[in-house]
């Protein structure tokens, strides 16, 4: 629990730096969606944020690949493909994911984000229950 709390605080610090310096909400799905959209003109900051994330990922991998990135679930390869599509489509339709709605939006006490977070946690619980039924375990 302590690691989760410290990790959460780091996430809070990162999104707070973004707000203080560039005045933006930090939502990963929004950052990605903006990069994919030809009409978006502000691509540079998105790329730098993602590069920072990837650099962090590199550090985590070099520190302890097994601790940070071990996938020990019953999910088949096809499950990651199905889930990825739903996450990509759903987050753009719903204007946000765990970071944009779950962290930034709830901190701003946005009614939309609180509603979205309750919904995606609920449908996540449902989805996992179906998954466990079909695949036997987590």
């Amino acid at each position: 629990m302590m690691n989760a709390l410290i990790g959460g605080a780091l996430i809070g610090i990162a999104v707070s730096i973004m707000l203080l310096f560039v005045g933006r909400v930090t939502g990963i799905s929004g950052i990605l969606g903006g990069l994919l959209n030809f009409e978006t003109t502000d691509k540079k900051w998105r790329i730098f944020f993602l590069l920072g994330m990837l650099f962090g990922g590199l550090l985590l991998r070099n520190y302890d690949q097994d601790q940070f990135f071990k996938i020990e679930t019953k999910a088949l390869t096809i499950d990651f493909v199905i889930a990825g599509f739903l996450v990509g489509f759903g987050t753009l339709l719903g204007n946000g994911c765990t970071s944009g709605h779950g962290v930034c939006g709830i901190s701003r006490l946005s009614l939309r984000s609180i509603f979205a977070t309750v919904l995606f946690i609920s449908s996540g619980i449902l989805s996992l229950a179906i998954f466990k039924y079909l695949r036997g375990d987590l």
Binding site: L20, G56, G57, T98, L126
Partner: protein
């Protein structure tokens, strides 16, 4: 300077994801497994992130403008609509199925594990399909 700060922010963000357990699908699934052996660890991520940002948000907004831009660019939409509802439900279905959301998926690319790569590849296709359908719908 501005882009260096954004880079550092992304860096801190991904360390937070890694440390908190968000990049490990079994921890995320354990958190969603409320009818089974519930793993409450991820409550810590929400509490930590929201506590810090709730305070920082209020102090920052009081300034009137961010340090390196003219104005804040915060979401302006209010009210709950069908798009928000359906989108959030679909996102949750995918999130619970693999135990991965967009941030941890991206950070996980660096592991070289093909499952993270497939997840993000498919996520980008999902986004692309959404944007293409919207352009068609708007015409």
């Amino acid at each position: 300077m501005k882009f260096f700060i954004i880079f550092i922010s992304g860096f801190i963000f991904s360390l937070g994801l890694g440390l908190s357990g968000m990049t490990q699908p079994h921890i995320v699934k354990g958190f969603l497994d409320v009818f089974g052996e519930w793993d409450p660890r991820l409550i810590g991520v929400m509490v930590g992130a929201i506590t810090v940002h709730s305070i920082a948000y209020r102090l920052t907004i009081k300034r009137g403008s961010p340090l390196l831009e003219k104005s804040f660019q915060l979401p302006v939409k209010t009210g709950i609509d069908m798009r928000l509802t359906v989108g959030s439900i679909i996102f949750g279905l995918g999130w619970g199925w693999a135990g991965i959301c967009p941030g941890p998926g991206l950070v996980g690319l660096l592991s070289g594990d093909v499952r993270f790569i497939l997840f993000i590849g498919s996520l980008l296709i999902g986004m692309f399909v959404f944007q293409a359908s919207q352009r068609k719908f708007l015409k």
